[in-house]
Amino acid sequence: MAVQDSPHVADVALDLAPAKPVTNTTAKPVHRLPVQIDWPTWAIVTTQAGILVGIIGLWEAAATTSVIDAFFWSQPSAIWHTLKIFFTTGDAWTDISFTFRSTIFGFLLGTAAGSLLGLSFWWSRNYAAIVQPYIICLESIPKLALAPLIILVFGIGLGSKVAVATALTLVVSTLTAYAGVKALDPDGEKLFYSLGATRWQVFRKLVVPFCLPWIISVLRVNIGLALTGAIVGEFIASQHGLGRAILYAGQTYDIALVWVAVLVLSTLAIIMYAAVSWLESLLRKGTRQ
């Protein structure tokens, strides 16, 4: 290779080396490292905004010129109009508050109970072995399928929505906290015991702080699940809530209202998601000082 690439005969001695088992036959083409050109931030932001504006503009134009059926798809101007009505004379705040409360209660209840349950598996291998198949069974059932049943038992009020949201978040938290317990390095426990620690001390000073990152990591997933639980609960039977608004508008073919309710719901979802992400980063800082 060297010989072919360069006019200098650089290395006669090497090529004649008798012990060399592999001889160079292929000439290697010269490659350079592929260079990636990153767009500047302004170009990225402009494109991002452009996509949004483009979609809205096209949609409006297509609906006005009857390229798409405005009855089925509605159009941005009609949605804007409905949005104003929804907030001024409609039930916007009642619905938002209902959905928000179901979600938060379910989230808190499910996460707290689930994490404690998961951590408790550290205490006894037998106890964990006994309870585990039930937890896995609960994991494998799509909990949302139980929603009609839960609504039946808990009634059509706030309680049933909280129950659905709790059912969804509880199992995830349990399994995640248990995963943390299983990831404990036995040497860490060894160190504690070599210092003469009791089981309770190991739990408090090692197991809980060690598993906290796991418990925290599941918060963002859980807020989404709790919201889904609340919405599906409202689909099945409810008098309030954004989920009910979407369902009701769909059934009456008020597509603009469906869009409005979906939009408001998505905004709520993103705000809650962002809040939990912020909480998460705060907790992460807190637990590691």
Partner: protein
Amino acid sequence: MLSSPPKLYVDNVCMTFKTATGVFEALVPVTLSIPSGRFVSLIGPSGCGKSTIFNIIAGLLEPTAGKVLIDGVDATGTIGRVGYMLQKDLLLPWRSVLDNVILGMEIQGVPLREARERALSLLQRYGLSGFEYLYPSTLSGGMRQRAALLRTLLFDTDIILLDEPFGALDAQTKLQMQEWLMQLWSDFGKTVLFVTHDVEEAIYLSDEVHVMGTRPGCILESILIMLPRPRVRTSSLTPEFIAIKEHCLNLLTASAPALPEAA
């Protein structure tokens, strides 16, 4: 030999990185001239830019100034010219040892059959027979390093760069691997550039040791090791060896920043 250019010539290479806090000088002009078939070591404290030099020679990093010449031809910024073994073995867990070893040839477009044939005979000769079809996860640290080294050798370049290949091994395995490497080097006659933390290892293996300093990275001194070859373990007991070792350690301690130091 005098008229021919060195196998590898690192010509006044500088490297500065832009960071949030300003400009960081990783390397001030570094020049290395390495004749064909030499075994050359770089030693120095962490952060002295050893890995930066390697990345530049391998073409993975463009130097701020200076050139890399291979056989007298400008090879700055071209990849696939030298065999580069990184610090970790980086064996791909989804490939058998054999298929890991031929990765370089495969990327260069050598037909699989031919590549496997070439690799098989080498694996058998250099202590990996019986391991060809196993997956890396079943191998010990020493075996993994052997596979990684053979992968580098089979890439079939005249120059190979070894970045602390034995750093993660336990003391005994490390000694065995050094013997094994010496064997390979004398069989293949490659030009080797070797980075290590271990002064004794550097002297024991090399024809020439470059001691590096830090902040910014530079070469403090180049020391020719005139000890006779083949070397044996007892070479390290000779007064010459000890003298060189002490000299190196003195250079390193003089240049090292006062401990302790936050990472």
